[in-house]
Amino acid sequence: MNIQRALARGILPLVAAFGLVSVAAPAAAWEPTKPVEFIIPAGTGGGADQMARLIQGIVAKHNLMKQALIPVNKSGGAGAEGFLEVKAAKGDPHKIIITLSNLFTTPMATGVPFNWKDLTPVAMLSLDNFVLWVNAEDPYKSAKEFLDAVKKGGPNTFKMGGTGAKQEDQILTVAIEKAAGVKFTYIPFKGGGAVATQLVGKHINATVNNPIEAVAQWRAGKLRALCVFDDERMPYKTKVTDTQSWYDVPTCKEAGVSTEYVMLRGIFMPAGVSPDVVSFYVDLFNKVRATPEWKKFMEEGAFNQTYLTGKPYADWVGKAEALHYDLMKEAGFLAKP
């Protein structure tokens, strides 16, 4: 299930070149003439919201755009509200949207009619990792030990907490169950921060929080990171806790669970906009990525900094959609027709 990711990596140098080309192209051809609405299809305080507000801050601080960038949360219906609005705003050059996996999961799980093909892909900013966490006071030192204990305990004795229902956390939980032959009780919560706290309070046994959602508790020695669901380790070697850096967390494959999953953090805009408009925004995000604030944020959240634009980005999204369809079909999460 990671072929397309390997593919994406392969095209990476090419993409970098592509990005440069788009910078060199006459980027000044179009500029926003009024404030740009930046839609966040998730609630305040979550991962997408934090990233969007950081981008707003960077754009304002470094004066990257003459008009303001205004984040607006449209989280209704697991994000469907935001996507439907962008879909409806065909040809509007003053609207962009940041996506997470709900770009795929929400229409599949609820049957709300929208698809990424209704939007114009602008840029993939990064991929967000998922890490398997347990409470530090529990005896499990590795993913294998933990999953063995889960298997021994029997189905539904161990509780996995996650954000939302039939979204990335639950999909990943089902994938782990399939790979390891175990069964968790999945308990949905409203946000990643709450999930981490529930784990610290021992109300649940494990989580698949994104690094940024759990890092504070990790540093305080309350949680333990067992493995990361990516095909290679996170590249950041600065010590985060007293003894470990993100790089020290093994991949789940090394730990014997061949499950991989990453989440898209990318930008889309309405369909029917001219190439000039798209290249303006691509250029804008190139500048955002070059700032020290962005680099620091990437490192703190241990993001996978794959950056794609144009056709490679669209191809990646298409493959990710197929992957989600398979995963959700297997898990029985697809909406009844």
Binding site: I187, G193, A196, Q217
Partner: protein, 499 residues
């Protein structure tokens, strides 16, 4: 007394002229944001966050938290003057605050509300100063069953108090629950009660319902009585603050109880809204004047305001020490902390002493600054009621429309607001109570979510709600509240038969 030293260090950090200026700007902006319904504290902070990136983190967070205090204070103003709660936790304030204003006691009601807010917030700050680590541990005890128990207790302490026909209370409350269920189901991810109409997906926001039911409904009612708000006779009295203060000390018991309820709910984090309802309900039960609640009793303003603000303030503690926000505003502040490179969590108190104690010191100062600012403006606010009805009424409708729109940036919500307005008018005249409806709408979703999470945990075993001392005692307290009215009646019966 390590905390005292740290606190004084904090004061020295916070008390620069620049920071003091930011404090006053923040409070003023906050009051403005709080007054405009729909533009809540969370919005205000989100919008101003980028502006603060150029400041040092301590100054920035001082300004942002002062906006937060200001917004908390400001929320009470529209509730009392126009029956339009700008924030969820101001709803309970309208029950007695608005009748007071109608009786020409707007100044008194405002002063009472502001002073209570201050007392509640101050109590919570003192608690944060000295008990932070202990309290943070307590918050970790709260899993889904405990959350459900808290919601259960809120409902129980509020239920069974109305004088309306019982079946109408039932219908109103259930309507609230039904509206809360509209939208996506958090546990299964299914769309509920939208009948294929995708505009409804975002659900019925509490604010839109409240703006319609209370705000527009009230305008229709006062129109019927002939073009006037009864508060028009309000005297403008500059000494109103002092006069009101003289009356307040006798309610110290209500105040103390509300502070404790508020702190507890803020930390758990049940939040300010359940805190305000619970506190109002319990005050009504305990007060000798309980029967007169809802007709303009000062106690009915003190209880919800004190609790809401104690909770709002205490909610910052779990954000700082655990990284979980207790309110939407705290969530945005949390985003801000991350951008400044500060990592909320257990280590923040160890690694960022300057920042944390500066913030705590600014809570003391910001609250005092806020109180001074809003109290000086009391006569000014009260004077708004003297504006003729035919000017103020359309302006209120405009503000309501803007408020309804800003919640989700959706045109449909303005239509819904109008519909709720007609409903509020009809319900009020047919004595369907609005309070249970609103309470169910605010908490219904969360209560159901917590219940079903708990059921998932226990695989459908109800005994989980009595599985440890904490959840058991909260549930027990709830049941006690539920049978309280019956017990009261029994006691009187017994006494009678004995005599």
């Amino acid at each position: 007394m390590e905390e005292i030293n740290a606190l004084f260090h904090g004061f020295s950090v916070a008390l620069t002229p620049f920071n003091l200026l930011l404090m006053f700007i923040g409070v003023t902006l906050g009051v403005l944001i709080g007054v405009l319904p729909g533009l809540g504290g969370a919005n205000g902070i989100a919008i101003l966050l980028p502006l603060t990136f150029t400041m040092p983190p301590t100054s920035a967070v001082i300004m942002l938290s002062c906006i937060y205090w200001g917004a908390l204070f400001g929320g009470a103003i529209t509730s009392i003057l126009f029956n339009i709660p700008g924030e969820p936790w101001s709803v309970a304030t309208t029950f007695d605050g608005y009748p007071m204003a109608q009786q020409g006691k707007a100044g008194e009601a405002l002063t009472t509300a502001f002073t209570s807010s201050f007392v509640g917030a101050f109590f919570a700050i003192v608690m944060i100063t000295f008990l932070a680590p202990l309290v943070a541990k307590f918050a970790l005890q709260f899993g889904p069953p405990e959350f459900f128990a808290v919601f259960f207790l809120t409902f129980c302490s509020f239920i069974g108090m109305g004088k309306e026909p019982p079946f109408k209370i039932l219908v109103a409350m259930m309507l609230g629950f039904a509206l809360a269920a509209v939208g996506i189901d958090t546990v299964t991810g299914q769309l509920r009660l939208i009948f294929g109409w995708h505009e409804l997906m975002r659900g019925f926001d509490f604010l839109i319902a409240v703006i319609g039911l209370f705000g527009i409904g009230e305008i229709l009612l006062s129109m019927e009585e002939g073009l006037s708000f009864s508060g028009r006779t309000a005297k403008i009295n500059t000494r109103i603050v002092i006069e009101t203060w003289k009356k307040l000390p006798k309610y110290w018991m209500t105040s103390l109880r509300s502070c404790i309820i508020g702190c507890w709910m803020g930390i758990t984090p049940g939040g300010a809204t359940p805190a305000s309802f619970m506190s109002y309900g319990i005050a009504k039960r305990m007060s000798p004047d309980g029967a007169k609640f809802g007709t303009g009793m000062a106690e009915g303003v003190i209880a919800p305001e004190t609790a809401a603000h104690a909770a709002g303030t205490a909610a910052l503690l779990p954000m700082l020490s655990l990284g979980i926000p207790g309110s939407p505003t705290a969530a945005v502040l949390l985003g801000g902390l991350l951008i400044w490179g500060l990592q909320p969590g257990p280590l923040l108190f160890v690694e960022q002493k300057d920042f944390v104690w500066g913030l705590i010191a600014s809570m003391y100062l910001g609250n005092i600054a806020g109180l001074i600012i809003v109290l000086t403006c009391v006569p000014l606010f009260a004077a708004i009621l003297r504006v003729p009805f035919s000017i103020i009424a359309p302006v209120i409708v405009v503000i309501c429309a803007i408020g309804a729109y800003t919640v989700h940036n959706a045109m449909l919500d303005i239509w819904l607001m109008l519909l709720f307005g007609v409903m509020g008018y009809a319900f009020k005249k047919l004595s369907y109570p609005l309070a249970p409806l609103v309470l169910a709408l605010v908490l219904g979703d969360q209560a159901e979510g917590a219940f079903r999470q708990a059921m998932l945990m226990s695989q459908g075993d109800m005994r989980i709600f009595f599985s440890n001392w904490l959840v058991g005692s909260i549930m027990g307290l709830g049941l006690l509240m539920l049978v309280w009215p019956v017990m009261g009646k029994l006691m009187t019966q017994l006494r009678k038969s004995a005599a």
